[in-house]
Symmetry: C2
Amino acid sequence: MRDAIGRPDRANRGGTAISVSDAGEFGLIARIVARLGGDRADGVLIGPGDDAAVVAAPDARVVVTTDLVVEGRHFRRDWSSAYDVGRRAAARSLADVCAMGARPTAIVVGLAAPPDLPLEWADGLADGLRDECASVGASVVGGDVSAADHVTLAVTALGDLGGRDPIRRAGARPGDVVVVAGRLGHAAAGLALLAAGHADDALAAAHRRPSVAYAAAWRLAEAGATAMVDVSDGLVADLGHVAAASGVGIELATDDLPLPAELVEAGLALGVDPLGWVAGGGDDHAFAATMPGDAALRAVTLLADLPEPVPFAQVGRVIDGAGVTFVDAPPPGAGGHDHFRA
Amino acid sequence: MRDAIGRPDRANRGGTAISVSDAGEFGLIARIVARLGGDRADGVLIGPGDDAAVVAAPDARVVVTTDLVVEGRHFRRDWSSAYDVGRRAAARSLADVCAMGARPTAIVVGLAAPPDLPLEWADGLADGLRDECASVGASVVGGDVSAADHVTLAVTALGDLGGRDPIRRAGARPGDVVVVAGRLGHAAAGLALLAAGHADDALAAAHRRPSVAYAAAWRLAEAGATAMVDVSDGLVADLGHVAAASGVGIELATDDLPLPAELVEAGLALGVDPLGWVAGGGDDHAFAATMPGDAALRAVTLLADLPEPVPFAQVGRVIDGAGVTFVDAPPPGAGGHDHFRA
């Protein structure tokens, strides 16, 4: 009887798809937990099914971050598969943990869903959450479900620092260089292509499911990053957070921003300047860091050791001052996105 | 530009209330963080404002749980103040941590909100989250905001076991007694009164803001609880989880269920059997535990030491078998609530 405000009528559907309301709250939970599999990482001491999970925190400090992913704001069910939504939702939080220089250990997930959501959509979501976690050595250890009008996901990720100092936003020092590891602008270009009806473009996949170079964050930390952030609001906006937290200015060069051929082609196809995606697009979860010049050289070497090549660029430098400025013509749309402003 | 699917138009409002869209995403975050105050607990190593927070986990294990609170499902803005919604949302997760026998250390909060939500509603919410955390020695250490059609809160709580074994649902043994510490049925009665237009009844406050006896959970653990759960789905439903996890049966006596005078009065006023609220109502977050009879006597002594008296009752016993049964006539509505079923 609890929470019995405004209960939805069970949906009348023409089709035969089994919905989450057919399964019921506990049926849905059991189904999701079954898909998560028993092969959780060693550090999961108590997994799903109790009042709370218990996860090893060998460092005696735990890194924690939470992110929301809302249908109609962050994804559309007709543009992204449930599996991709799951991978992307997990990636957002896992990338934040890595941006502190930590290793993700576990996530917990809140899923609010319409009662007529097909049960197989929830299956795909669980698979995506599980696989993205597994790609970085973490596990899904718990969650909660509720009815709602739209799918809303809340993913909280935990991580372990392994005895290292966390890399904060506040450590940038004048004289440091600004580097980026990972892709910039691909997800934003993919979203623009989807909106224009180009659902089959390879860049559309970058919107649906980012390919996050988690290990690059650990290499940047190891190289000696003084500040680090994952690019989720857009490069210029996120470096603005670093500048503000560190009490410094950051000077970028538009000419130094990486502009791969596929973004140029997408820009030509859509008639827009692709540098706007590179400077203002989030959701690729590249890692931007500041560090002394010799550390940046070390970073190049360390990144070269990774099994998959990771794009790396030096895009600017830390100066006395405030905010993010450009030494040349600033790219368009560099301000990033505000969730509450149209 | 990220997440730029379906951006809402900025609301046209007749009144002069400042909304969250007026403040913008980063203005809203700054406003909330300012209200959380700097007086965070000692264990908060990095609070809000970075990619992730860092919290002490001295036990080298961390307890983690997440819960959703959805407008129109768990609360109505015309029935509950923002402050009460904040306290209640925090309480749900904090109680889960305590039900493992752990001490809450921190929460992170995802807030999805309509762009026209008054900014002062967000203020009240932040105050409520902060104060409920402070009541149990925890802090709000981070969060995320997004636009959405309805207010949705996702609260993830962390806790520390302090070297003790977690109290699971799976430890109940035949011969144990079943005890409950805390109130049962008050929130459910309050919701029924609100739905019937009795907004001023004292029980309505129990729906708006539960008064959770967190310390009672620690005393039950200390006394020797073999299994413990916080009553969030309803006593019978939650004891059903304990029975299933432990591979035992639980035998209750309706005659032993606590039935305070105010619930009897509310039942008379509404023409319903108040035992339904006691057996099936969640949201008061009482703690139900199983333990040997001598441990239950210890629990009585330990609970008597608490500064505030906590209702305590022995309601049944653990038997060989399966499921929850009654030795006498079962109360109505004992099945609890399913979020996806009307």
